[in-house]
Amino acid sequence: MRSGRPRRWLWTGIALGLLNVVVANVHLAGRPIGASTGYPWAAAVLAGLRDSLYFREIDVAGAWELLFLAGGFVGGLLGAFVTRSFRLRTVPALWERTRGPGGGRRLAWAFAGGFVLVLGARLAGGCSSGHVLSGGMQLAASSLLFAVFVLLSFVVTARWFYGGAR
């Protein structure tokens, strides 16, 4: 029966790995995929902080990653329309089961979660893309250490935050 099972994760994983190797080619981007530097870059531009110490450090990488994020938005929209799965939604099903149906509460928690997430990524110097996917690809010590602590904190927090109500 095993052969009949969907292996979408396998083909998607292979394609994702290939893509990152292609992007890193010196004739293309010359650097692998990353996402989280786009946030402080955009924030600094919006707030007029282009002279800040941090902005000068991330100027090149941040602009690149903001374009990656923009592409992600377009790709998400495109894919959702092609598969006719686009739907405006605020409260995910699992959230509703465990934390209730309130849309305002969900948005407030998402805002707080996004703050902590990106703050963590900037402290660590990378995220799931730059550290885990791209750092893992290069066997970077920092990225492997990051992945271990993310996993621990992720599982503990998820159990504590959603587990009690199930």
Partner: protein, 173 residues
């Protein structure tokens, strides 16, 4: 720069197929009930580690290793994991999820922008506290043969972990 945009489009279209842009799938992993996301990531890292080493040795790619700044990586990793559990998206999947219509991902992006601003403001005082900086180290060995052996071992471990997770919790639809 066009490569960055196109890479974003392609990554979104790819990982959408596995549902990694969805809250339920990510938090399902946090609750150790759904392993589609880690299976996909493990395969991607395993496959790319071997291909990247080949590319690197042919001179078609340069290493881009992030520094091992111990307190920053550990503390940042702990915050990142907690944030991902509550939000259900990561920095890269937030705009993808918003594009699919998940408005909570938009709220997460607003929080992320504020965090980017706060970090930019605090950086001059914060940076000295994140160390010690052990440098841009990766696990490549001095000799070519040892590096190939080591990377092969790493790739096999990643793929084996993905298949073991799949055996324990097979994909449904």
């Amino acid at each position: 720069m066009i490569v960055a945009f196109l890479a974003g489009v392609v990554v979104a279209l790819l990982i959408q197929r596995v549902g990694i842009t969805r809250f339920d799938r990510v938090v399902g992993f946090g609750l150790l009930e759904d392993f589609e996301a880690p299976k996909t990531v493990l395969v991607a890292v395993g496959v790319s580690s071997l291909l990247f080493l080949l590319e690197f040795q042919l001179g078609w790619a340069v290493l881009n290793v992030k520094p091992l700044i111990v307190a920053g990586v550990v503390g940042g990793g702990i915050l990142f994991g907690a944030g991902m559990a509550v939000l259900g998206y990561c920095p890269g999947t937030m705009p993808m999820a918003l594009g699919e219509g998940s408005l909570d991902a938009g709220a997460g992006m607003a929080g992320g922008l504020l965090a980017g601003l706060a970090f930019t403001e605090a950086y001059p005082r914060l940076a000295p506290l994140l160390g010690p900086d052990l440098g841009d180290v990766n696990l490549y060995a001095r000799s070519l043969g040892a590096t190939w052996g080591w990377v092969s071992l790493f790739a096999v471990a990643c793929l084996a972990a993905a298949f073991l997770l799949d055996r324990r919790r097979p994909s449904e639809s």
